[in-house]
């Protein structure tokens, strides 16, 4: 199919001194071209499936001041998101005289272990993670922590996003200053 007849066409006779042109085959080695073809196929197949974006479900609670959810101190863990991908957390309720003991600072890499330890050590009915985002935290932080909840298999309804109080804001600000986070 890929060959052509290259033998002298026309059939006219050549003189005795004229050398016959050497027959050159027109067959080309197609192996590299096949290689290239399949390489491109694999490339396209991979890039198209990889770039698909996914969607994460969000369920917001209804704002209702008459229904206040009571959380047991023993089961509550508050996670605060601050500037520069910093995470702060404390268990139960903040007490004025034990602030420095309670209020701990960590990063996104380590928070998973804290979440899991808390989950294992608490009765599932009492468990509650309270997530509060600082005004300097990013959208990514807010999504990452929710993602962390699903990674740790925290059942829905056992974590909630709540507005930050002034005390907590001040605490974060102080910790940031002390740790030199800008």
């Amino acid at each position: 199919m890929a060959e052509m007849d290259t033998s002298s066409g026309g059939g006219h006779k050549k003189g005795p001194g004229v050398k016959k042109a050497k027959k050159l085959s027109t067959r080309v080695d197609l192996t590299p071209m096949v290689d290239l073809g399949f390489l491109l196929i694999t490339f396209f197949v991979f890039t198209t499936t990889m770039s698909q974006s996914t969607a994460m479900n969000m369920n917001e609670p209804k704002d209702d001041s008459t229904q206040v959810l009571k959380v047991k101190n023993s089961g509550a863990m508050t996670i605060l998101l601050g500037r520069g991908d910093q995470v702060y957390y404390y268990f139960g309720q903040l007490e004025a005289d034990k602030l420095s003991e309670q209020f701990k600072s960590t990063t996104f890499k380590q928070i998973r272990e804290v979440i899991v330890t808390k989950k294992k050590g608490t009765k599932i009915d009492d468990l509650m993670y309270i997530i509060k985002s600082d005004k300097n935290s990013t959208f990514r932080n807010a999504i990452d922590i929710l993602d962390e909840m699903s990674i740790c298999n925290v059942p829905p309804g056992h974590y909630a996003e709540v507005d930050m109080t002034a005390t907590e804001e001040l605490l974060i600000q102080k910790t940031e200053e002390a740790n030199g986070i800008k």
Binding site: M33, G37, L40, I41, A55, E60, F139, I143, D144
Partner: protein
């Protein structure tokens, strides 16, 4: 004993057929894959372990790095109805021709007050120069937009709306901007929506990895 002669055969095969197949497949894949709609706004969404694919037809709210908010009403949504609804509700005084022109715009990124003057302009302003939909605590026009959207998708269409509402935010966008979009949703009784993320595999050894949720 007579010698058996094994005829020597060439080991080269004709590659033409294979080459044909390779390029046929290549052209098929290129033509069959859907082209991504050109992204006017460069946004890098955060990662998540969610495996659900983002829906194609959507009402997409984009939050850029600078905190600007843009609204994109997909082609298959009730875009024209939403636009005429907000035109009537906010008294924008747009003519039918202007509404038609607005319907063709790929996204909305100006305050409601500037829409009439923007539509009369001939030249198009590049997306990064647009001010975005104002979404401050004092002036949150997203509330008006979501009101029109919920009005159009009232009643039995509400479920459909839940499937479509998407927020796509940039990694570096600050949290308050996201919070105000959520507030706009809540004010219109929208409690379920989705966040566009980049898929990520579940970390090995985590709780979700060990006990994956049962597929429904």
């Amino acid at each position: 004993m007579p010698k058996v002669k094994i005829p020597r055969k060439s080991t080269t095969i004709d590659m033409t057929a294979m080459c044909d197949v390779a390029f046929l497949l290549l052209s098929f894949f290129i033509l069959a894959t859907k082209q991504k709609p050109p992204e006017v706004l460069a946004v890098t969404p955060p990662n998540s372990v969610s495996a659900k694919a983002a829906p194609e037809k959507s009402i997409l709210i984009t939050l850029t790095k600078e905190g600007k908010v843009f609204l994109m009403l997909g082609d298959e949504t009730k875009k024209a109805d939403i636009l005429s609804n907000i035109n009537a509700a906010k008294g924008l005084n747009l003519s039918a021709a202007e509404l038609n022109k607005w319907n063709k715009a790929p996204f909305i990124g100006v305050p409601l007050g500037q829409i009439k003057s923007m539509l009369s302009k001939q030249v198009e302003i590049p997306a990064n120069k647009l001010p975005g939909i104002p979404c401050d605590s004092s002036n949150n026009e997203m509330v008006d937009w979501m009101k029109s959207v919920t009005n159009v998708y009232a009643g039995s269409d509400q479920r459909q709306l839940q499937e479509m509402l998407l927020i796509k935010g940039d990694n570096a966008a600050l949290y308050p901007a996201f919070k105000r979009i959520k507030e706009a949703f809540k004010k219109n009784e929208i409690f379920k929506f989705r966040i566009v993320t980049n898929g990520e595999s579940v970390p090995v050894g985590s709780e979700l990895y060990l006990n994956p949720p049962k597929a429904n």
